[in-house]
Subunit: 396 residues, 2 copies
């Protein structure tokens, strides 16, 4: 659609939708215009004068609209919108990681069938163009791992707790007030948002799709003061890390969980609502990309980059999907963890392969030991409910 | 040239050329093959068995060769090769920053006239895809500045000096032995290499071309132990920083010079041969990209990314060049510097607008004061010759 004008049908007008609108206005774009906006609640006061509707048909039946931008919270509704657009051969930009993480395989197939682009760089890391770089720039490197802080609001909370001794509740409230946190905070703090992004990244980095329910995912909501003291004593910080790595034998491991990060690591210094991604490859060694992972303007602007990429007929090629040497997913991998518990029954929940540290007092009990992703994944729902906290504790 | 096979005519087989060859072999690429290699010295022992020649015609007259990769040291010869390739409508990848920094405007024009691509992402920051990201991803943002450590070997030397108390000469020797340094070390340590990269980056970030001779450029070769002590006392480090920034009134300033960088800055932690670039924009706030800026494998792999981009018909669009609001270049900008000298005559060389610190002893004299880029640029050759050292000393 080179040289053409994009008339956008926009779904959703929350933080990112508003950000996109403002960014477009600010740069005075001539090729891109928001023609109509579909929202859930028409009665809500909107700060702008644009054409609003609460009926998706008003967008899909408008012959002027030649581009769909989907920025809504509801993953099921997002799926319906994106699928309908692709089936009409309308290019789409989506910001819904949850929807993508569940339906990406079908959506890749639909893009090919209807020869139309679905872009979602803004969904994976806010303003860091990690997908685009994996697609285009790291396509020849033999990648070994991608690891990062992919959720701005949980990182914001951790920063406030570690740097400003803020309480968990206050930090969460502040993140929500500033517009970083999703409307459902569990998405952020329990690791789901990071998980969805990790799944999207893995598709582009290694070609493989792994369903959310197959990946060990554990957040920061069980962390308490004793855990924070432990980290400080070791001169480390907890960071919520999403991680995919190719092991020997072409096996892929994935996880989302807190990690005790030492000072000499890049992601140690990723503060507040920023995201940071470390990409490791055989030839590049390591690269670090860092930027704002949340907020209306940075993400709105990233959405606009996706939109204008379509002006230049850009599509993801999913090159790694056609690789004959596609890796296989495994949870058969052991690593060192810190595991804080209160009842001995909680300790029995997880089968440790070995224990190297064991501390017991009336107020505080923990072990440091080796455990497999498979073991953790089996009991992940239980872990969340009990008074335990678990974090990866790498040797370096 | 989608689906086509690239038969490469390669010019130069130094560190990067070798790296490219090894990377290609390692990934077992089927679409990309080095058909023939043109080198200066045919008698030199080569570790591989490929078709070598010392005559450019053998490459340009080979009807099988449909792609040129130019990785030689000599800027004039590189210019001749790249120009000849473009005029034959052969796509080219070039790694010669010096040549690009001098001839980029003509080469942009030739690309348009012959409808053929010249890519050079690998030239600007080794393995960090800064050009590609500026072109494609930050194209909508209202950029305010790009600032970074763009030269791996001078940074390697500074790291060894500051972290391992190595002598300047030993550090330089080590950098050369490891293959990071250019064959002419002045290119690295006097800031020229950073300057050329800055000029290329500025074309893509702001659209404007500024000739090398118009930009204040000053390196680290005059730095002595007293300077290093000064930096340590202030808990800062010297870094050789290339910097372009848009000021109010749509004015652009550019410089390459040492800066006293404080601990809380991203580039403070860029160590050894790594490069780091901070991109600031109105919407994104700031982004930081970090990776290996030198070495055969990382750069060879970056060259391969440029090559395969051509397989997908990728071209730089130079969008900012068509901007009606192109900024104008100025040296009319004052800032704080640290200026160490030995003779009073050397102090008179530079006209300070104000002086806030003045230290005099028999062994060591310096001032801290405000000076304009225009003043510094006027005397830059003199500054290099005399026993003085000057570094930007930002307030933050």
């Amino acid at each position: 659609m080179n040289g053409k004008k994009l008339n956008i049908g926009l779904f959703g007008f929350g933080t990112v939708g508003c950000g996109l609108y403002d960014v477009l206005k600010r740069i005075g774009s001539k090729n891109v215009e928001i023609k109509r906006i579909c929202v859930r609640d028409l009665s809500k006061q909107r700060p702008i004068d644009a054409e609003f509707t609460d009926n998706a048909d008003d967008i899909f039946n408008d012959p002027d609209i030649n581009f769909i931008v989907e920025l809504i919270d509801d993953a099921d509704a997002a799926y319906t919108i994106v699928k309908r657009a692709l089936q009409m051969s309308l290019p789409v930009v989506s910001g819904n990681k949850k929807m993508l993480a569940h339906h990406i395989e079908e959506l890749i197939e639909l893009q090919a069938r209807y020869n139309v682009a679905l872009l979602y760089d803004a969904s994976a890391c806010g303003s860091i163009p990690v997908i685009r770089n994996l697609e285009e720039y790291y396509d020849n490197d033999l990648l070994t791992s991608v690891k990062g802080i992919l959720n701005g609001s949980s990182n914001f909370i951790l920063s406030k707790i570690f740097n400003e001794k803020m309480s968990y509740a206050d930090a969460l409230k502040l993140a929500q007030d500033l517009g970083f946190a999703e409307s459902n905070p569990s998405l952020d703090i329990d690791g789901w948002d990071s998980l969805f992004k990790l799944i999207i990244i893995t598709i582009h980095a290694f070609g493989l799709y792994v369903a959310p329910e197959d990946i060990f995912t554990y957040g920061i909501s069980n962390m308490n003061d004793a855990d924070i003291r432990f980290a400080n004593e070791k001169e480390r910080r907890f960071k919520l890390v999403a991680h995919v790595e190719k092991l020997q034998g072409n096996k892929l491991i994935m996880s989302v969980m807190p990690q005790l990060i030492s000072r000499n690591k890049y992601i140690y210094s990723v503060e507040d609502e920023f995201n940071g991604v470390v990409i490791k490859g055989l030839f590049y060694d390591k690269q670090f990309m860092f930027g704002r992972g949340a907020g209306g303007y940075p993400t709105g602007s990233a959405v606009l980059s996706d939109i204008t990429a379509c002006l230049y007929d850009y599509k993801y090629e999913y090159k790694k999907r056609n690789d004959s040497q596609m890796p296989t997913y495994t949870t058969d991998h052991s690593f060192r963890v810190y595991y804080r518990y209160s009842d001995y029954a909680d300790l029995d929940l997880v089968k440790f392969e070995s224990v190297s540290e064991n501390y017991i007092s009336d107020e505080y009990k923990y072990v440091v030991g080796k455990v497999s992703l498979r073991e953790l994944h089996k009991v992940q729902d239980e872990l969340r409910k009990r008074n335990v906290f678990i974090a990866a504790y790498p040797n370096d």
